[in-house]
Symmetry: C2
Subunit: 158 residues, 2 copies
Amino acid sequence: MPRLEIDAIDQRIVALLTADARRSASEIGRLVSLSPAATKRRIDRLEEVGVIKGYTAVLDHAKLGHALEAFTELRFAPGTQVDDIDRALVDLPELVESFTLAGDPDALVRVRVDDVDHLKRVIDRVRRGRRGGAKIIGTKTLIVLGRTAGPGERGETG
Amino acid sequence: MPRLEIDAIDQRIVALLTADARRSASEIGRLVSLSPAATKRRIDRLEEVGVIKGYTAVLDHAKLGHALEAFTELRFAPGTQVDDIDRALVDLPELVESFTLAGDPDALVRVRVDDVDHLKRVIDRVRRGRRGGAKIIGTKTLIVLGRTAGPGERGETG
DNA sequence: GTTGAAAGGTGCACGGG
DNA sequence: CCCGTGCACCTTTCAAC
């Protein structure tokens, strides 16, 4: 395993790839004053140590027919293990990401759906929450009206 | 402006770029049985019409020193405009994204911080919510214990 | 960290369906 | 409209330093 330290140049490379993951290693090298080969080695190392987990396209989901986004807060029966929560949600195609939380509610589930009717069906599926012994005793769904990206999503954190 | 219709091949291209945004147009072309040039033209068109808004690196924030993630629910005073909410949150480097919601709470703010002390300072800043006339009358912060990516984040939705 | 050369990807004009 | 081809140019990759 390569060294884990992330120096200032690594941070700039990470920021540049966060802003545009399809930039070439040569261009990044130009921007951080390094040769293409040295830049590529740093990118490879950042991937190896797991600082960079991958690269993804940022989509306009509304244009792909998934116009509605929502968060559903979940409350579980006493004794439910946090790991059970994840198991309760696999195989839900509408799931974007799910969070286990400290406090009340116990989990937050983010879903993307076509319309309110679709949302209703998804919430029904979530509420069943059969798998893994997780017993859902309450849900509260919040419909997203608008979303704004922050600096932390654009690589401006360092 | 190019055509807005997204056919089955476009959807596969979007899914492939969502799974790995750094794949070359030639490789994607091989996977969807199209020439490199035709594939590139489709990718360019998907970007032009805004289906693909950009490309970003997926990071392990814990390895970059931002180990703690949290959601803060916000409640606003009556008469607050939803647009005021976004204006109240600009210039918060710890902000990942913010959502305006239908129902109660009025907004959900996602932040990434170094530790609980840092979180305390960020929540204090959010609670002030000076800008744009947004008056925050209550907050509730949920600390993230764990996160799981769903199919909708990996391009498996189509 | 650099250089350099081979392999492969990109960008563009052209022609065909 | 959208596809493929061919070619010049640029990037990536890897050895050697």
